[in-house]
Symmetry: C2
Subunit: 316 residues, 2 copies
DNA sequence: TTTTCGGTTGAGCTATTGCTCATTGATTGG
DNA sequence: CCAATCAATGAGCAATAGCTCAACCGAAAA
């Protein structure tokens, strides 16, 4: 008898769900049809959902992305996560994630109350600032997390901070420092001098950090861009480095290394664990271990990536 | 560019739909996530539905029934239609439809304002009245559409009107007449006498008619119950009879025959087309042509049947 | 350059929905 | 048989969704 009632209740729930979601009736109409009160009709619709009698299927590539983003967000307790459809024609294309990063920057910068945005390295970050909608926000501040002078003394490093400031009229604070100093002592001296200390102080108050994630292998961007030598790169790899964020190398568990180039690095170190919104932006199979490690080590609390990369991270 | 925007709009619609239906967020939350106004978020969710980006799938046997009922209702412009799951163990079982008929009667009889319910023949109708919830409605009226005296003069015909009256305290009007008279003249005389004319008048004002549908073949219920002889049945079949409602035989197009037993029949004739709620209740492969004809001829404007029968009717 | 037009937007209103809580009614144990 | 308990119910309210309308924006035409 109990089973009988149970069954008939589920039947009614299914009926209500059908009438609600498929036929598009209101719960009031359904209540009249099924000869129950509106409250009961609502309960039946809820039950239909709770018992998973009805399922939703989104026939769109976006669906998989949303799913992956939700899983990443859950798994790594992220404050923010976006997964864009992978472009099969260009698996490494940063266009998709750059657009989302730009959108995120737009949203942050739209605020009338002053905000501080800190930028790291990475092609996605560079591409993102190019896509930011121009807006006049002179009271905002844009601060760099990394030195903008490369090994040869030139300031050739792509000036993301300056570009973003151009588009917003915000004050900007590049870090007038070489990426690496020649020794730990020298680094410690430099970061204590007034203009650098000021940048550090502003960066510490940043409302959002947007950083790229680099893998530490033969194709490491920090090496390609000439910030670290081949020897330095290989030394870090020997020491266990698997990825880097603003130059700070970390191992497979996302722990910052205490040796090697990290001792001579002028970049603002990541918060561990990340408390302020710290969004990592990266795509590509090569970066998967680096991204996964950064997530495990809580070096970032936000991620913008593509479908293929997201899937690879979750499958590890 | 237009295509680009169109695509991105659909992407957003899919995103909104996912967040709404799958993740269960409110449109307000979605608006904040996608950086649009709540109104726009609502539009995106609507668009997602309109473009069929999202589909609902009801994983329950009831779903097919709802679907069939909706199609029957649409196809034959029915005021009411219910399809119950077919019981694979007993394909002819009237239990399912009787329960629904009883429910319908319950709903009708629940009204405080006086209603008139007219009952026809059929096992489903008989079973239905047995399942009606007892309720005290002395001002209602229950009227029979068919004579309750069979060929041998006995009143053995199952007394649905009386049983329903028992359960409701309603006044009831059986038709104290033989099912068939010996001639057309005699029929015409009988239906004009006072008590019969009164029953006819009440039946004409009925708020609802619940009737069975009989097939006209060797297993015709009217013959089995002894209301028509074998010869009479075969004559009607020769004349094109394919089904009967309250004894009134009709052809494959649902047109009432003007000859044969119909000329001697005392039953209240159906309205053509049915204006008052006239619900046919019948199941079984054998009844499919009869039901389909009744629907086509608008002898009924409501149907209660089972899944297998509904499917067969639609596939004709 | 100005005008017009189609389409998009957000404010604000109304309908619908979800939920809480007191009440009812059924069921089980005494 | 009665009382206690618990799930189900419906009223009523607060939150949410859907819709209308006026305003706005950008594109195409004059």
């Amino acid at each position: 008898m109990a089973a009988e009632n149970e069954k008939s209740r589920l039947d009614d729930a299914a009926r209500a769900g059908w009438l609600y979601f498929i036929a598009g009736h209101t719960q009031d109409e359904i209540a009249k049809m099924l000869q129950v009160s509106r409250a009961s009709a609502q309960r039946l619709v809820s039950l239909c959902l709770a018992e998973r009698l009805i399922t939703f299927r989104l026939e769109h590539p976006i669906a998989a992305c949303m799913e992956l983003a939700a899983r990443l967000k859950e798994r790594f307790a992220l404050a923010h996560c976006e997964v864009v459809p992978a472009d099969p024609a260009a698996p490494q294309a940063t266009a998709g994630i750059a657009e989302r990063c730009a959108n995120l920057l737009d949203a942050t910068l739209r605020s009338e109350t002053p905000v501080i945005v800190a930028l790291g390295t990475g092609r996605a970050v560079r591409a993102a600032v190019e896509r930011v909608t121009p807006i006049d926000r002179p009271n905002h501040q844009i601060v760099s997390l990394v030195g903008n002078i490369s090994a040869d003394g030139s300031a050739s490093f792509y000036d993301t901070v300056g570009r973003l400031a151009d588009r917003t009229g915000a004050r900007h604070y590049p870090m007038p420092l070489p990426f690496l100093m020649s020794s730990e002592d020298e680094r410690n001296k430099m970061v204590r001098i007034e203009p650098i200390a000021k940048v550090k102080a502003i960066a510490a108050k940043a409302d959002m950090r947007l950083v790229g994630i680099g893998q530490m292998d033969q194709k490491a961007q920090v090496h390609i861009d000439g910030f670290v030598t081949r020897d330095e790169l290989f030394e870090m790899m020997r020491l266990g480095a698997i990825g880097e964020i603003t130059g700070w190398a970390y191992d497979a568990k996302g722990r910052l290394l205490k040796t090697g180039t990290n001792k001579r690095l002028t970049s603002i170190p990541p918060e561990v664990p990340a408390r302020t919104t710290t969004i990592g932006a990266a795509v590509g199979a090569a970066k998967v271990p680096a991204i996964a490690a950064a997530l495990h080590g809580r070096l970032i609390n936000g991620l913008i990536t593509d479908e293929a990369t997201a899937r690879a991270i979750l499958e590890r």
